[in-house]
Symmetry: C2
Subunit: 108 residues, 2 copies
DNA sequence: TTAATAATTCAAGAATCATTGAAATGAAAG
DNA sequence: CTTTCATTTCAATGATTCTTGAATTATTAA
């Protein structure tokens, strides 16, 4: 991940509504969620939801696929992993204090 | 780390100047850097550097200590580790794809 | 084709953030 | 005590970003 992409990802994650949307999509898992469901569950008007979802999509944090009349969104864990890698390696040069976040529950 | 702190951190990292400042401080290591050095090495006027450094400090990503006439800044790896933990655990629920970023060079 | 539904795009104004230069603060030296 | 140096704070302007509602596109059904 390049600096420009990381900046875009940080920017996309730095809004309350967008972070909540992403977390909703994480909980939704494989099934994802439609734009309408996301709009409803975040109390954001459709145009506002669409605006924020497209910011997340532009940053590669979510993907969108049309499904009949609706558009279904999925979280893209790959990009989140790359962002983690950027922070850990490019930004923090693998500093052990940062790296220690990896020592959680299910090890690695 | 709470959501509000994570948002503040993402916000602090979502600017080119601030990300560059943080990376400078990572490279500087234990010694840290003075506000003047950071200002000079980023081509940012002193007031501008001060503005961005205080945003980083407010997010807990850097610390500041006065040293005679100068103020020395250090990166706070702890906060960066907590941010990584937030993304991995709170945000992504330890999803293996995100977790795989931990499998780099010096293992864990 | 027409109507209905789901979502996006657009335009306007509101709100927030960044930049600049000048003034103020804090610390050391003469 | 005054001056100088390093940095921050302040105020004004400029630039982005966010929000809202209306108009538009895309899809399906009647």
């Amino acid at each position: 991940m390049k600096e420009a992409e990381a900046l875009q990802a940080f920017s996309a994650l730095s809004g309350e509504t967008r972070l909540r949307m992403l977390r909703l999509l994480v909980v939704a898992g494989e099934g994802g969620m439609t734009a309408g469901d996301i709009s409803a569950q975040t109390d954001a008007a459709p145009s506002r939801a669409s605006f924020h979802l497209s910011a997340l999509a532009k940053a590669g944090l979510v993907s969108a696929t049309r499904e009949a009349k609706q558009i279904r969104y999925h979280v893209r864990f790959e990009t989140l992993g790359e962002l983690m890698g950027y922070i850990l390696t490019d930004c923090c040069q693998n500093h052990p204090t940062v790296r220690s976040c990896c020592l959680g529950d299910q090890g690695c």
